[in-house]
């Protein structure tokens, strides 16, 4: 998937799943949209479905640093690239 395609999918998930309409790409999701750690866990599940692959515990813990939509896009690109190269961050 291209970055734009991933962005569209993430925007859709934010609208349908989290009732957050068109968040700014650099909005701080917690401060601006009340997106909390519970939502982050739910989002990781959506990302797993998008990747068609389970995220390791270490990869999930890394995701806890995510603050913005752009961070999410970077994270997905990186997870996707790791899988294309046939490896994941081990636990």
């Amino acid at each position: 998937m291209t970055r734009d395609e991933i962005k569209s999918e993430i925007i859709r998930i934010f609208r349908d799943q989290f009732e957050i309409e068109n968040p700014g790409l650099d909005d701080n999701l917690r401060d601006t949209h009340e997106f909390d750690s519970i939502d982050a866990i739910e989002l990781l599940r959506e990302i797993e479905i998008m990747l068609g692959s389970e995220l390791s515990q270490a990869e999930k813990k890394n995701a806890m640093e995510i603050r913005t939509i752009n961070d999410i896009l970077d994270y997905i690109k990186s997870m996707s690239a790791a899988r294309a190269m046939g490896h994941t961050l081990s636990n």
Binding site: E19, E34, I38, E42, R45, E48, I49, S53, E54
Partner: protein, 410 residues
């Protein structure tokens, strides 16, 4: 330090209505909220009981997603009645969040609807764990989900008590809330209980042959507490919340006082977990009167637990007869709505305050021919005008837990 405790607000979602007007109308006109059991594609085809005390009217929830995301159906009920109570109370946000207000709220077992979804993923044939249990499923389904979703929604920082003692859940909430205030630990308590539509509870009672099964085609004719033709209880759903305040605090701020709680007792039968126990129930009633510092002849009205089971009603009538004789008028409100489980104590307490305020006693619905083994007490068989001064609300639960609340009009 012992302080006086008053009830200043109440709200309930019941099978016979949501607002006070609807509930009073149902009581006055003898309208039942028992309906046919809904198909749930899981247990309903295997249950002999075909009726349920059903909330079948729409409720307009307006909770933000921030709150909704940790709520199962039972928490929706709980938060809605809590919201109505707090909005009606006039308490300001500074007080609500001060730590002087606590919450005593529970349910029978959290949200069985959400628990089912969790179990489905356990038994799913899918090998992929990433699409199984949601991050919030535990928060939605846990036993204290009602209490803490209320604290979250309103920023309440006081004590949290979350009873989960089946049919005495919310009578314990009120009683423990009363004690919190009486002994100076909190100045106000938001108390109650809730239970959602759930056929597992029906299956439990059905297996124990405790459910009504003879009125599946005429749901409004069951349950029939104290009646010759009673054949068991009917499970129901609902929620009830009451605001308790320290008397001087309530008076000073000009709050409406619905009733004073003057006594509470809670004990255990100390043995069998299912069978009702006349000595245990008698002791509960006596302990309640002792805590209130009144004699049995001061009580005008008894709200009986009265589930409509063969033995439960007889044992309760015997205990009431032992303590009160045939003096107070006795009614059982489960006859209108079935057994709303974790919410019944709060709903029945609130109905009692409605009757105190409006000056009437609603009869036990479907009580046509009194079982002679229950006939030693003064049953309400028709609507009567009555100025209730002091009332007792009694509830009993699986596990041998008994409670008695005594309230007084002031």
């Amino acid at each position: 330090m012992e302080r006086r405790v008053v009830i200043t607000q109440g709200s309930a979602i019941t099978p016979v209505g949501h607002s006070k007007d609807k509930i009073v109308k149902s009581l006055v006109e003898g309208i039942s909220g028992v309906k046919k059991l809904r198909q749930d594609n899981l247990l309903s085809d295997f249950i002999h009981c075909g009726v349920f005390g059903t909330v079948d009217y729409p409720i307009a929830y307006d909770f933000k997603r921030l709150y909704r995301k940790t709520m199962g159906p039972v928490a929706y009920y709980a938060c809605q009645v809590a919201k109505e109570v707090l909005e009606g109370s006039g308490l300001d946000n500074d007080f609500i969040t001060s730590g002087r207000l606590g919450v005593a709220f529970g349910s029978t077992h959290g949200s069985p609807t959400v628990q089912r979804e969790i179990y489905k993923s356990f038994f799913s044939q899918s090998r992929s764990s990433f699409s199984s249990i949601g991050a919030v499923d535990y928060l939605k389904s846990m036993v204290h989900t009602t209490a803490v979703n209320i604290t979250k929604m309103f920023g309440i920082t006081g004590r949290v008590i979350s009873s989960s003692t089946a049919c005495t859940t919310s009578s314990q909430s009120i009683g423990f809330g009363y004690e919190m205030i009486k002994y100076g630990m909190q100045d106000a308590m938001l108390c109650g209980g809730a239970d959602e539509y759930d056929t597992t509870t029906v299956a439990v009672f059905d297996n124990l042959l405790a459910c009504s099964t003879e009125f599946n085609d005429t749901p409004h004719l069951t349950p029939r507490p104290f009646d010759n033709q009673r054949d068991g209880l009917v499970v129901g759903e609902g929620a009830g919340a009451l605001l308790l305040e320290e008397y001087e605090f309530a008076k000073k701020r000009g709050a409406t006082i619905l009733a004073e709680i003057i006594g509470f007792s809670c004990n255990n039968n100390g043995g069998d977990l299912i069978l009702p126990n006349v000595d245990g129930i008698t002791a509960t009633i006596q302990l309640g009167l002792k805590d209130a510092g009144i004699s049995a002849d001061s009580v005008d009205f008894v709200s009986a637990h009265a589930t409509g089971t063969k033995m439960g009603d007889v044992i309760e009538a015997q205990a009431v007869g032992r303590v009160y004789g045939d003096s107070p008028v006795v009614s059982g409100f489960k006859s209108y709505m079935g057994h709303t489980m974790g919410s019944c104590g709060a709903i029945e307490t609130m109905i009692t305050t409605y009757m105190m305020e409006e000056g009437f006693i609603a009869p036990t619905l479907n009580l046509e021919n009194i079982d002679e083994r229950c006939a030693m007490i003064n049953h309400a068989q028709e609507l009567v005008e009555s100025d209730i001064r002091i009332a007792a609300i009694q509830n009993f639960a699986f596990g041998g837990v008994n409670t008695c609340l005594i309230i007084k009009k002031i």
